[in-house]
């Protein structure tokens, strides 16, 4: 069946004035969404780069943080943005505990064992959430920022997304500074480069791993609090982002924080623009295709070496 839209799809016709505005709007949306993906990816790339572990439970950490924000909001009327430090600290602690309880035991095992362990953890956490809080969809619809918009000409931008984007930039820069400037950060870098040499240099690699896992948790904890202001919250809500975060991390280069940021942005833009041009049902397929193309040019990711 033919639709009116098919003929004047932007692919086939010259852009009209109105169409320009829509494209601009879509680019804005894509960039904002890209920052969200970046926010989720930063934590993942840390663990992946430093410990060479794929954390399957990363999305579940996100989900727990979103639930924390939700409960803070509904029980204590605490706005998600104020609850952000609580979420960050809580997931930091969960991250450290995960390392001490599980990862420590499997880190020296061959390749994919840690993946299996984190898969078990993800299964456990997802269903723990269902057990404790029912599988109902929750939503915070009257936080400080929800529903507010900024209008730039005819482009509409949601305040929650802007806050999340700004936080994403701050977070990325903060983590980069931490890694580059502090002693602990340098120790993390050293451990990432070569664990054994780092050990010989007197670095307590176990402690470093625990910190890395915690830090990754803290990043995703902050992401959860920010995302809780504009996404539905339910036990499987974190899993949606895991796969896209994998791709954005791989696109940027494993362990590269700047890479995760740009990877996220590329994904956000690709799905928004690609989805608009080629059909929204293909938007994730387009993201995967772009990964395959990027990786042909830069086999170790955009910023990998």
């Amino acid at each position: 069946m033919k639709y009116r839209r098919a003929e004047d799809s932007p692919l086939f016709t010259k852009l009209k004035g109105e169409e320009h505005m829509i494209i601009a709007q879509i680019i804005a949306n894509g960039i904002l969404m890209g920052f969200i993906y970046a926010l989720v990816s930063v934590g993942l790339t840390l663990i992946w780069g430093v410990m060479d572990i794929i954390n399957f439970a990363h999305g579940e950490f996100l989900m727990i943080s979103m639930y924390t924000a939700f409960w803070m909001f509904s029980l204590f009327a605490m706005d998600p943005l104020i609850a952000l430090p609580i979420c960050t600290i809580l997931i930091f602690v969960i991250g450290v505990l995960t390392y001490l309880g599980i990862i420590r035991r499997v880190i020296n095992a061959p390749g994919l064992t840690a993946l299996l362990a984190t898969f078990g953890l993800s299964m456990f956490l997802k269903n723990l959430a269902q057990f404790l809080w029912t599988p109902n969809f929750r939503y915070i619809n009257n936080s400080m920022v929800s529903g507010k918009t900024i209008e730039l000409g005819s482009i509409v931008i949601g305040v929650p997304q802007v806050v999340a984007a700004v936080a994403s930039i701050i977070l990325t820069v903060a983590v980069m500074l931490f890694i580059d400037r502090t002693r602990t950060g340098k120790a993390i870098q050293a451990t990432a480069l070569n664990k054994n040499t780092a050990l010989l240099m007197g670095i307590n690699t176990k402690k470093i791993y625990a910190i890395t896992f915690g830090l990754s948790g803290a990043c995703v904890g902050a992401a959860g609090a920010l995302m809780a202001t504009f996404f539905p919250i339910y036990p499987a809500s974190g899993a949606l982002y895991s796969v896209l975060a994998f791709v954005s991390v791989a696109m940027g280069g494993f362990g590269n924080i700047k890479g995760a940021l740009f990877g996220g942005l590329i994904i956000g833009l690709a799905e928004a623009l690609g989805g608009y041009m080629l059909g929204t049902q293909f938007k994730y397929a387009i993201v995967f295709l772009i990964y395959l193309i990027v990786i042909q040019v830069r086999p170790k990711g955009l910023f990998g070496w």
Partner: protein, 338 residues
């Protein structure tokens, strides 16, 4: 080799005997899925365990196989046996096409690339009307009263027992092929590539070619499993068949059993599948997610205490008993060692 053959014989004998002990459908269902996934694990093991290229996208080959035999039967009423082979060939061709750009990637970059390919193929099938797109296909059911020959020809049975034996034959064939491969020249080459790409190259092995052969064989076997699965369930849609869950299940159960060992997948599958079926059957009806919590917890425990895969226990035992034979005082050693 002799030792391995004996173990293999015992495994197959046990599996073959189960339908005689019990005819409970839930058990037979678990055995059939176990065999299908163990075979998939074997296929995955060739490319990942032997050649060291982690694939997170085996659902793509599995799905292509499932769809080929289904379409061939659904559209043209040709026996799934033809579709089975055809599916294997198509999957191998797809594997060859995707391998060409992917093989230059290392480690996780390759893994994510395979995942991406699988997701793209899934989306193609979702939007492709010829294969009924997102709606999925219910396989036409042949008459209930048909004789066994006709049932075998169309691979549809009222009972589960024929399925157990068909899958068992498939599994046996694949595991024999794998143990042959493991000890063949190609097996050694692949392992050399796994250990060091550069060293393998320097001694005159062409890594790309051998990885490609491994990929083709792996894709072919996976597709056959896919055909079996589709014929067994009698319904397929892109979401169930190309799901990341299937790709990951293959990876996880092989890791659980032991990567790079021909017995890894069967050991992993015989823990993984019954465990998930059992927890679901016992507790799934409650609607609280307790079943999957326990399932997740058990997986964590197994990995934490047996990080090298369950095959690790077997190897430990083997080593212990070797010592016993040599030292003669094995009993003391064994108790203190444990």
């Amino acid at each position: 080799m002799v030792k391995n053959k004996k173990i293999l014989f015992i495994i197959i004998a046990i599996l073959a005997l189960i339908p005689i002990i019990t005819r409970t459908k839930a058990v037979l269902n678990a055995i059939i899925l176990l065999l299908i996934f163990a075979t998939l694990g074997e296929a995955w093991n060739i490319i990942t365990g032997f050649a060291g290229q982690t694939s997170f996208g085996h659902a793509a080959f599995f799905g292509i196989g499932a769809y080929t035999s289904t379409i061939v039967f659904y559209r043209y009423n040709i026996t799934p046996w033809v579709g089975l082979i055809l599916g294997g060939i198509i999957a191998a061709v797809v594997a060859a096409i995707m391998s060409y750009p992917c093989f230059k990637l290392k480690g996780h970059y390759f893994a994510v690339a395979t995942l991406a390919v699988a997701e793209i193929i899934k989306q193609i099938f979702v939007s492709w009307d010829y294969v009924e797109g997102a709606t999925g296909i219910s396989l036409p059911i042949i008459q209930r009263s048909s004789g066994f020959a006709k049932r075998l020809f169309y691979l549809q049975f009222n009972e589960k027992i024929p399925w157990v034996y068909i899958c068992l034959v498939l599994f046996t064939a694949v595991i024999l092929l794998c143990s042959y491969l493991e000890n063949s020249k190609m097996g050694y080459y692949l392992k050399a590539i796994r250990e060091s790409h550069e060293v393998a190259e320097s001694i005159g092995i062409n890594p790309t070619n051998y990885k490609l052969y491994a990929m083709l064989i792996s894709a072919f076997i996976s597709a056959i499993c896919g055909s079996m699965y589709a014929q067994y369930i009698l319904y397929i849609d892109p979401f169930m068949i190309f799901s990341l869950d299937i790709s990951m299940k293959i990876v996880l159960l092989t890791v659980l059993g032991g990567v790079g060992n021909v017995f890894g997948p069967i050991i992993g599958a015989s823990i993984f599948i019954p465990l998930s079926e059992f927890t679901r059957i016992k507790l799934g009806g409650s609607g609280t997610g307790v079943d999957l919590m326990i399932y997740g917890l058990l997986i964590i425990l197994i990995t934490c205490y047996q990080p090298k895969g369950v095959i690790g226990i077997v190897q430990k035992l083997t080593e212990k008993s070797k010592k016993t034979n040599v030292g003669g005082e094995g009993k003391i050693e064994a108790t203190s060692g444990n």
